[in-house]
């Protein structure tokens, strides 16, 4: 395996860092099939953590369990939001999980195709705003202020992901890479402390991947949002993540720093035949 050149110095995690998400023995069964088998995982503030594994290893299912799309069969999902009480969120509806502060993107892009780019991001603000039907009808000063605030925040986010020029374009008309970035902006609009990215680089060309690389690192460093990502692009994973978890057939087979993972025989075996450096 050739060495990859990290674009930023990865720092080892100090023991004192605050844990944000703590998953203990998460298990998910579909009928007789165990898609996720007792997987445990921690993410601390300021970290970029990657979850890797061959296709069908159960990574997306794990995501779905954590974000409330599926109700896990067993195990605990605990969140420790900064400055708030710890909560056990198994079985919470997705919108509650998002409201607590964990937002996600999707492996198969799920944008609101027939809404504008700006509106897509504005949906992310939904859970942070309060206008109700009455407010919307009368459109009083509070509503107006809130609306303007939403627009401002969303423009800022679009700027961060480089999509301001497309603000009034329909989401479906964006090029592929831009759609992926829009998904990230939309998730960021929910004010998360943890962002879960499901294969953000899938289908991107090398330049786009590189830009994404930088974007993710920037989000983590300047926005103080921790990141958990599923990714197949090993170069990206090795470049930016501080810790890596590896899954195979629903089980966690390894965890550690990129260097550990690279030399872990189990991981090499799991990826046997697959080009780890693809």
């Amino acid at each position: 395996m050739p060495e990859t050149q990290p674009i930023l110095e990865t720092t080892p995690i100090p023991e004192t860092r605050k844990i944000l998400l703590e998953v203990k023995d998460l298990t998910m069964d579909f009928g007789g099939l165990r898609a996720v088998d007792a997987v445990s995982l921690n993410i601390c503030a300021g970290e970029i953590v990657a979850l890797i594994g061959p296709n069908g290893a159960g990574k997306t299912t794990f995501f779905n369990c954590v974000t409330g799309i599926y109700k896990p069969t067993g195990g605990d999902v605990l969140v420790h939001p900064p400055e708030k009480k710890t909560q056990k969120i198994n079985g919470f509806k997705p919108n509650r999980v998002t409201t607590i502060g964990m937002a996600r993107t999707f492996q198969n892009i799920r944008l609101f195709q027939n809404m504008t780019v700006l509106e897509n991001v504005m949906i992310g603000r939904h859970c942070r705003t309060t206008t109700n039907i009455v407010g919307a009808i009368f459109r009083g000063s509070t509503t107006k202020r809130q609306e303007q605030e939403t627009i401002d925040i969303c423009y800022d986010l679009l700027e961060k992901v480089g999509l301001v020029e497309f603000a009034d374009e329909f989401a479906k008309n964006l090029p592929y890479g831009a759609q992926r970035r829009l998904e990230i902006a939309r998730a960021m609009a929910t004010d998360p402390f943890l962002l879960l990215l499901d294969e953000p680089a899938a289908g991107m060309n090398p330049q786009e991947t590189k830009a994404l690389d930088e974007l993710i690192v920037r989000i983590c460093n300047t926005e103080q949002i921790a990141i958990l990502l599923i990714e197949h692009d090993m170069k990206l994973v090795m470049n930016i993540s501080q810790r890596i978890y590896v899954m195979e057939y629903g089980k966690e087979i390894a965890q550690g720093t990129p260097a550990d993972i690279r030399s872990n025989p189990k991981v090499i075996e799991a990826y046997l035949g697959e080009d780890t450096d693809a």
Binding site: T67, I69, K93, P94, N95, T98, T99, A103, R104, F106, R110, L111, F112, Q113, N114, M115, T116, L118, E119, M122, I123, G124, R125, H126, C127, R128, T129, T131, N132, I133, G135, A136, I137, R139, T143, Q146, E147, Q148, T150, I151, D152, Y155, D156, V164, E165, A167, D168, E169, F170, K172, N173, P175, R186, A187, A189, T190
Partner: protein, 408 residues
């Protein structure tokens, strides 16, 4: 070209075969007579031939369009002429002024009969706008919408016969009852996917009619409720003519009111959530939108308008019976929404006026109207799913600072 004609010829033959027993043969089993209507065969052949040519031409165009969209050039495709005119303030403003004037003087120019029909058309405008919220914005296909219309009409009918409630008190009650039924029926079907929802709402629509038909004590069954008073005006005595004119202006106000409120909601946090729900339910909840609330509010809000104009409908007719609330009415309102362009307010208004007024003024057409509605629904879905007038996306105000950049 020759090949094209050959194919159309074959299509014509196929349709001649297909329609032969139903179009050509007519048997009277009581008198044992067979009537052979050979002339119909000719019409079918000609019709099928021409239509298949048009169909193939339209399909080719559609393919071109979708190809353009695929390579990401759809944004460059020019919007239709009507749309551009509508967006041009130079055209839009005078048109609006003329329309407003015509609307105001309309009842003075025509007789009561015409005014009365116009009132009906306006009622359907509001129904269309209401259903547009549920179907067009929130993407919840409701095939039993007429049930809420019936709720409103019967609310007034029953309140009036039993307790002598007047129009003005019944109006808001009718609307609220509509919304309440919307919520009550919405609850059990929250989890249902789009197509199941359609069939269940269809069921609710039918149940509503059956209940009204059979509950003699309250709804007076199939006989219906008669003698419902027209809208009052501070207790003033009015003859039929002036009451009709009055109802007309009332409906104009109500249409404006509906447009105002719907517009406000559409461009709000709530309206955006409805649209997001329509676009992608899973992404919508994953972005923190409460699905149950959003669905229920869309459902209830759509139903509210049906309940509200239901009251007006009862007052206009002064008589209601279950036959005004069949699936045909639901289908009619749905075709208004589909034809007008889902989510588009102007489109819905135009479609409602066309679909209600056309059969009234073109008697020959009225016989064929359900046939046409059906065909229109199919053709619209295939060739113009965005409706006559596509929903124009609102451009939001820029940022408080650096506004120029937003418009770049």
């Amino acid at each position: 070209m020759v090949d094209n004609f050959k194919r159309s010829f074959l299509v014509a033959l196929w349709f001649v075969f297909l329609t032969f027993p139903l179009m050509v043969v007519k048997v009277n089993t009581l008198k044992n007579i067979v009537e052979w209507r050979w002339i119909n065969m000719l019409w079918v052949a000609i019709g099928a031939f021409v239509l298949s040519l048009v169909w193939r031409w339209a399909m080719a165009r559609r393919q071109l369009k979708s190809k353009a969209a695929e390579i990401g050039e759809e944004g460059l495709v020019k919007p239709g002429l009507g749309q551009r005119l509508l967006e041009d303030p130079k055209v839009f403003k005078p048109v609006l002024i003329v329309l407003a004037l015509v609307t105001i003087v309309f009842p003075l120019l025509v007789d009561i009969y015409q005014t009365n029909i116009m009132v009906l058309a306006l009622i359907f405008v509001v129904l269309g706008l209401g259903l547009n919220i549920t179907v067009g914005l929130a993407g919840l296909l409701d095939l039993g919408y007429v049930a809420f219309f019936a709720v409103g009409a019967y609310t007034y009918g029953v309140l009036n016969t039993f307790w002598g409630f007047g129009f003005w008190i019944s109006l808001p009650i009718g609307g609220l009852m509509g919304a309440l039924f919307g919520i009550a029926l919405g609850f059990p079907i929250l989890r249902l996917r789009g197509d199941y929802l359609a069939i269940v709402t269809l069921g609710f629509g039918s149940i509503a009619k059956i209940v009204i038909e059979n509950w003699e004590e309250v709804f007076n069954g199939a006989k219906g409720i008669a003698g419902i008073p027209r809208p009052g005006f501070f207790g003033a005595e009015m003859n039929i003519a002036s009451a009709t004119t009055y109802t007309y202006y009332l409906m104009i106000l109500m249409v404006l009111f509906t447009i105002f409120i719907t517009n406000r909601l559409k461009d709000s946090r709530i309206g955006r959530a409805w649209m997001a729900l329509r676009e992608d339910e899973i992404a919508c909840v994953a972005m923190g939108v409460d699905m149950a609330r959003t669905k229920l509010s869309a459902y209830a809000f759509g139903a509210f308008w049906a309940g509200l104009v239901g009251v007006v409908f009862a007052a206009r007719n002064t008589y209601i019976n279950p036959n005004s609330f069949t699936f045909m009415e639901s289908a009619l309102v749905l075709s208004i929404v589909v034809m007008g362009g889902m989510g588009s307010i102007i489109g819905v208004i135009i479609a409602a006026l066309v679909l209600i007024l056309m059969p009234e003024y073109l008697r020959a057409f009225s016989e064929y109207r359900m046939l046409m509605f059906g065909a229109v629904m199919v053709l619209m879905m295939i060739f113009r799913p965005e409706g006559l007038i596509a929903n124009v996306r609102r451009k939001y105000a820029g940022r408080t600072v650096k506004t120029e950049e937003a418009n770049a």
